[in-house]
């Protein structure tokens, strides 16, 4: 039994959610990693160092340059005969590509697994994480996306896999990548950060998110937001933590001016330590917080920045 994991990579580095997907795959048996892209030898070298990976399949061609679903799915289908499980992290890329692969293999995908029970059986959240379903697949090949927050990522170093070139696969020419407008930030990515500081509707404006900056700077944190703050136009959608945004599980999550709607809790409740700062002491966020501070955030945030500075 061997699993093939589609790797998300950037600038020659393996993204953390993919290292979690490798960890999930390792519970099933042997693990191969697929690195697809254009000019991505460095990423393949990095994937070969991941502990648990025994072989890296490198698909280096212009067709894979921007991770379009159509050529990537065709590639995975071409590789599928050698594998029992085809997997990826539940990222924008994994969610885009894997169901397409599943349909082409006549397999019902198993999305966003949070635990591996056995080779056919997995636990996955439904209803925005308000229930956990254990499902058993009857398909010959399982196509799976992995909730990164539920599996500790494998280390970046320690393995020494061989690298093998992928055979050429069809590349449908029905889609074309035009441009990307990625948020520029010196901060870590939300899904990979050790600390996340998020603001909610209580921040009152996008400008007030500046109050979070010195705290995030001091803690080396990523900055997130609730859906309410995104809907109100305070910050862009890629800040969104929650069922309809990103799922995070940092060591420390600080929720500021966030009431704690179900859909937000679904995105952060696996964090190791949760801090809530809210002036409403009845806010549901306090029911999941390890440390709650009932306070006006406009007073508390400058104090917190000063207190951290003092440390």
């Amino acid at each position: 039994m061997t699993a093939l994991v589609l790797i998300d990579h950037e600038a020659g580095a393996i993204k953390q959610p993919s290292r979690s997907a490798i960890a999930a795959a390792a519970q099933l048996g042997e693990v191969h990693a697929l690195v697809a892209g254009s000019g991505v030898q460095a990423a393949a070298d990095a994937a070969a160092k991941l502990p648990g990976v025994t072989k890296v399949i490198l698909a280096d061609a212009p067709a894979y340059a921007n991770a379009l679903a159509e050529p990537l799915a065709a590639l995975l289908v071409a590789l599928a005969p050698a594998y029992s499980h085809l997997m990826a992290a539940t990222t924008a890329n994994g969610k885009n590509v894997m169901p397409r692969v599943a349909a082409l293999l006549d397999s019902q995908p198993i999305s966003d697994i949070a635990a591996v029970v056995d080779a056919d059986t997995f636990v996955r959240p439904i209803y925005a994480g308000n229930a956990m379903a254990t499902v058993k697949s009857s398909d010959a090949k399982k196509v799976i996306t992995v909730r990164a927050a539920s599996f500790d990522p494998v280390a970046s170093e320690g393995g020494s896999a061989s690298i093998e070139a992928a055979p050429a696969a069809d590349a449908p020419a029905t889609s074309r990548w035009l441009s990307a407008e990625l948020s520029k930030s010196e901060r870590p990515e939300l899904t990979a950060a050790r600390v996340v500081v998020s603001g909610g509707r209580g921040m009152q404006s996008g400008d007030n998110f500046k109050l979070i900056d010195p705290i995030a700077d001091k803690l080396g944190a990523a900055v997130g937001a609730s859906r309410a703050a995104v809907d109100a136009g305070f910050v862009p959608n890629d800040f969104q933590v929650g069922q309809t945004g990103k799922i995070v599980a940092p060591e420390l999550y600080i929720a500021i001016g966030i009431s704690g709607a179900i859909q937000h809790l679904a995105g952060m409740k696996d964090s190791k330590v949760i801090v809530a700062i809210n002036k409403d002491e009845e806010a549901p966020i306090f029911q999941v917080a390890d440390y709650g501070l009932v306070a006006d955030l406009f007073v508390a945030l400058p104090e917190l920045a000063a207190e951290l500075e003092r440390g």
């Binding site: 019902q108 059986t121 035009l178 990307a180 407008e181 990625l182 803690l219 959608n237 309809t244 501070l293």
Partner: protein
Amino acid sequence: MFRPVNFAGANVRPEACPPSVADGPHIQETARQLMKILVPVKRVVDYNVKVRVKSDGTGVETAGVKMSMNPFDEIAVEEAVRLKEKGVASEVIAVSLGVAACQETIRTALAMGADRGILVESDAELQPLAVAKMLKAIVEKEDARLVILGKQAIDDDMSATGQMLAALLGWPQGTFASKVTIEGGSMTVVREVDGGLETVVLTLPAIITTDLRLNEPRYASLPNIMKARKKTIDTMKPADLGVDPAPRLTVVKVEEPAKRQAGRKVASVAELVDKLRNEAKVI
């Protein structure tokens, strides 16, 4: 931002005839250029309902619970209706697959501006692969050139049907769309990706799945709700589409997620920082 419309008691006429197929070749050609859009709509537990896991662990309680159209599907209906209003589409067809009560969900789409509905009636559980196969059959029968779906249903959270339908049809896909522009034979889709936005160009026919910021769905006006009652809903069964709807995933059990213990309140910022440094040791 979501505005469910309640259609309890709507008068449904499964016996109604489909539109005439006797249109001349010229009209058919025009209709082909102004493409038909198919919009699948799913009946789900309303997003405001706090779901409860059944005590026997077989699923979540849905009896007596308010049901609504999946919020992402409302965005899909809105986008399709806007494309028709812009003169890009000739007809918007709302499709729902599931129990007879899915007619209400279709009526909601009709009240928002969809032209007619199709109900694939089944009391058995339908999983995304089977749904995608049935939608493929309907797309081919209707000669639709664009399908707009919600990016995920808020019940099973699979986020799979759109991508699977695209694969089965051999069409390109624009998932998690926040902006769609159609010009000539192609479509430009701005997609929500992890680090921001990405723009792709797809050759029609194609699939779109909607993200939250694509549009803000309209309220159905009372006159439109009345008009919707007169629109046609065709009813069929999975077997009529030649699809075996048997689930591939068996639910072994459904459980409550692990509960977090509420912690404690701290009195000041200084105490908070002290606890984080010396007790939790996370900073």
